[in-house]
Structure formats: structure tokens, C-alpha cells
Amino acid sequence: MAQIETQAHKQLPPTKKRSSLSEKAKEAISGYLYISPFFILFAIFGLFPILFSFYLGFQKWNGFGEMEYVGFQNFKWILTDPLFWKSLTNTLFMWILGTLPQLLIGIILAYALNSAIIKAKSFFRVSIFMPYVTSTVAVAIVFGIMFNNQDFGLFNIIVGLFGIDPISWGTTEWGVKVAISTMVFWRWVGYNTIIYLAGLQGIPNELYEASTIDGATIRQKIQYITIPMLRPIIILTVFTSTIGALQLFTEPLIFIGRTYREEGITVVLYLYREAFTNLAFGPASAAAIILFVIIIIISSINVFVANRIGR
């Protein structure tokens, strides 16, 4: 509806609003009203658990019975535990291996799906989204078979084609990381593709048509139309996938299971083990708080960088 006027104004700088004061007040009230459900629900179901975690970070507690205040002891433990640092570097490596490529491939696939020449769009769109639909149980079994340590495992046959000896995916430093990253990549590419696709759909065709008349190449179209128009969505995906990657939990749990092997342990897996296997809720909460701080720092850097894309 009313697409044409939309596009005509799109490239103009946003005009300053010049509405009356009472109009402004109305707008503010509406604004608060519209966003209040989130904050109310969050305060009930989200805030208390968070405060509880922060509180626990300074206690000794095994899940039952009394808590005991221990000051910064838990933080000291976590920060001096080599395994915590190992879990942090693991998480970062898997972020680089599994998450960053996912965004790039996601954009490419979305761009391909959005191009006018494609027939059977629905089929491709459904197929590419399939991994996100697949439940973790199936993923666990399928990937367990594919990343078999033996010579006949699917991925060992593949690396064999390149003359590489069979890799022990379940136990080696890089084998574990590559396997988990592959799972992450596979599960989330389709998800990001769908998000980018919606973003691409929002870009009016007229812009491309106009630029074609002006003789723009495909690369120019991508550089000057697609990327700038898609920037809000790119920022969104970079931000959310970074958080998702730093909170990586399900895939490594599926892959390395409850032995929590140090080659594949992530920070959240580490704190989960502290809490629910070792019943050390204090150190677990301390680890959660430290992770929270790290996520804030990395997300800020990320958004800062993403903001410059296409500028």
C-alpha cells in the first residue's frame, strides 16, 4: 500500500517533527504505553532471576539449604581457573568459525533467493530454512553419525578426499571445535537467510530499476543500494548472533555431552556444569556475571563496527 510515495521520500533526510506540545505529550504517552508490556512482563519473569543470579555470585550455595556470604571468593576462583579461560577462548574461536561465516553466507543466499530470475522460490526458501525446524534430538543423532571418529564417518571420508588422515572429531582440539562450529553454522544459516530476505524484500524495486537505467553494475547496486538499505538488519543480526555465539550452549552439549571435554566446553556450558553437576551455584553465578560483562564489551565493539558498514 502506498509504496510509491514511500520510495519517493526515502532518500531524503528525515524531516524534523514540528508538532504541537500536546501532540508531543500524547506521543510520549503512547510510546510508554506501547513498550510497557515488555517491561512489566520482564520485571516479573526476568528481573528477579537476574537479581537472584547477581546475589548468588557472592554466596556459597549448593542448591539446597542455607546460603553463605563469601564476598569475591567465587570471582577469584573463576578468574584463576584455567578452564574458565579455556572455555572463553573456545567460545571465541567457535564464534569466529561458526557465526561470522553464517552471516556472510546468509546474505549471499538471501540475495540469491531475492533475485528476480529464480523460479521455485518457495521450495528453496523452505529447504534452506529446514535446519532451524529440525529438533535437537535429531541434530544430535545425525551429527553424531556424521562426525564419527572412525575412518568411515562421513566427514572423515570428505577430508580423506583431500588426502587428510581421519580426524578424531570427538577428542582433538580442532576436531571438536570444527564439528561444533559446523553444527552451529548449519543450524543458523537458514535462520539468518530468512531475516536478510525480509530485509531485502523491504528494498523497493524502483531503486534498482532506476539505478539500472543509470547504468549501475551489480556490484554498484549491492554497494550503494543493498548494503545501506540493509544496514539496520545487518546490525541486528551481528548483534544477536554475537550474543547467541557467546551464549553457545545447546550444540556443544549435544556434541560433547556430559563429559564436558575441555576442547569443546563453552562459557555457558562451564557455568552450567558448575551449577548443575558440581552444585556450586556461587561460582556458576560469578561466571555468568563475568560473561555478561564480556558480552556487553564485545557487543558494543561489534555494533560500533557494524555501524560503519556501508557508510
Partner: protein, 444 residues
Amino acid sequence: MKKWLMLVVFSVLVFALVACSDDSGASGEDDTSTETETETDAGSDDGGEAEEAEPVELDMWVFGSTGYDKLIEEYQTENPHVTITLNEGEMADIHNNLFTSLSASSGAPDIAMIEVSEVARFLNASDSFHNLNDYGAGDVAGNFLDWKWQQAQSVDGSFQVGLPTDIGPTTMFYRTDVIEAAGLPTDPAELAAEIDTWDAYYEAAKTIKAETGKPIADAPELVFNAIRDQQPQQYFNEDDELIIEDTVKEAYDFTTMMIGEDLIGQNALWTPEWGSAMAEGTYATMPGAPGWMLGVVKGNAPDAGGNWSLTNIPEGAGNWGGSFLTVPAESEHPQAAYDFIAWLTAPEQQLKSFNDMGLFPSAPEVYESEEFLATTDEYFSGAPTAEILAEAAKSVVPVYMGVNYATVNAELTTALTNVAVEGADPQEEWDAAVERIEQQLERQ
């Protein structure tokens, strides 16, 4: 409770409004801290009157295939005033939910099943359970195997957290075709006589390797577990001190030595390749296999009937698996709950569970039953399964497992895997595992 909710909603609204008109978002930080204290309300009713015909509803959580639904029907017919709701789930889920409920002091059932590897942890939170000794558990203690009974008991014996259901006495499964090819006897009794010690097992391994080129076992964990489970003390002593150097290091050394000589394969438990190896006969024995493993082998290798058999494990059996039924403190009908589980775990019902679902009984009286002893298994070359398992059950020694059993076990498994798969140095892996364990224990 409603008031509490209203208060929260109201304060949230205020918070939202205040935070909006201002620019800060971090007010109201301390208002929830008082809620965090767990209230333990010891709802131990007097147990006398539950006998009356007043209607009682009991909620029960179990995992695995127990077949208890049929027994519940039977019990309800005999005791019309009792209604039991059975909820079945996956093992880890049931334990996690129980843990969450006890931790929050709310939502636990009247009867909860707990697996043997988790029982020490819950025993540690004995405030959260009814002491079954208060409801007559002392009278039935004699019905059960001592070692099994003690696993659900506090160190001083005063607190009984659960009544035993099934057990997992370990035996040794073997491939008759591989054993035969190696020139060893395939009859259970003869083979047990031939391989009666771990030294003999080692010698047999060399023979099998020489004759068939196959390892004697495929999963390092199974060999380690089999020897570990024969030790009267394993990971912790009764003061919860880590004692693995003195107890299971020998088992570890033996296993890694066999790995080093290429006598044991490198499959990890529960992996597809471990399952498929059962069908293919790529190894000779599966030491430390309990009764429930019969079903695992059949499921993974339905066409290998007659190629498998079982016999006694060298140097005496251990136990792997089995459960208890407990009554969480929240239950308002502890006597009724106890009466039901006492009935459910009585020898007659255990025999029914065995016949129905193969749950191996923890009540030795059942082992006297003709019907029970006559059980043989065609798949396992007609071996008298019940008799062999019963014999194993009697030789199990009681072990104190400790709260942190799972932590230690995960690290030792990692060490074994590294030795088997990566060819890592056994001593270095052991030291690294010990260091990781100590680091984790220190924090509790």
C-alpha cells in the same frame, strides 16, 4: 500469595513509570533479596491416620520402562481410597525437575524415583525428604540386598531416603564366535573358570589378539568400570575425601596398559559405532555388563542371536544402575506413599516387574523362586540369565559413592578416552584429571 503477586505487579508498574520519566533503569534492586531464602516446611504428618479410608491422591515420577502402570492398577483395586498418578519421563529430566522442586521447596511429587548415581546427592539434602525409617522402613530392610539398602542410607544409618527397586549386577557378555575362533571354551561355566582373574583376562586378550586379530573389549570405559566396581572403596571415602590414587588407579593402569598393547578398542559408550560393533563381533567380551544390557545388545544387534552369551565377570561382580523410590518432604501423605512403595518393592511385585520389563530384583528372596531361576535367553545361547545375574548380585560389595561421583567419573572418562583415542601418556592424563577434579571439588 495473591497479595505477593499484586505487590510485584504494582511495584513493577511504578518502576516502569518512574524509570520512564527518569533516565535511570537500575532502581529497586534490593526488593527481592528477602524472597531467596528457602523455606523448609517439614510437613511430617503423623502417620497413623493415613490408614483410614480417607481418599488419598499420590503423584509419582518415574523414568525408563518400569511397567508400574499395571502394578498401580492392581494396588488401586486393593486399596480403593488411593489414587496414584504416574508421570514418566527421561532419567536426567526427572532428576533435574526433582532438584529444582526441592531447591524451591515446591512442586515435588509424593513419590520420586532416583537413580543410584544420583542418590548420594539427594541423600545429602535429606531435609527435603521424609525419613522412611519413620514409616516402617526398618521392617522391610531385611528384604533387600544389604549393599543396595545402604546406598540409600546416611552414613550413620539413621536416615533412609528410599526403598530399592531394581539393580544392575554386572556380568561378562561375550561373543561365542570370537571366543571359539580364539580356541577358548564357549560354555559359560568353562569360560568363567578359564578367565577367573584379571590376569587371566589379560592372558586371554593376548590369545584372542593372536588368534583372531580382534581386541578383547571395545570400550575402555567398560573394562575400567568393571574393575572399579569391584573395589570396596572407589572415588571417595566416607568423609568425602578423594581417594582415587589408592583405589581405582590400579584399574586405570590395567586398562591403559591393555590399551597400550592394543588389546582394547577405542569406542565410546552409547555411540553408533559402539552399537554397531555389537552386531559385527569385532571384539570378544563386554565386561561389566548388567542385566539391562541384555536389551541393549538385542536392540543393536537383532540378528546376532546365538552369537552372544554371558558368564561371571572375573573376580566378582559390581553394580551398574538401578534405582530407589523416595518420598519428598513436601508430600502430605508420607504414610500412604510409603505403604505403596513398600508394596511395590516387595519380592512378589519385583518378580512381576522382572517378568514384565526385565527390572532385575533387589530382593534376594526372588532369587529362590523356581520360576525366576528357570529364566533362560535364547538370544544369549540359552544361558540361564537370571541365575548368573542373581549370583552376581550376591557378590556385590557395598560402596560409598559420595556426592561428587559424577564429577570424578566424567574426568576419568576423559582421561581414558584421551589415552585410547589420542594415544596420550596415561600418567600425564591421570595427573591432569586429578588436577581438574581437585579444582572443581575445592569450590563447593
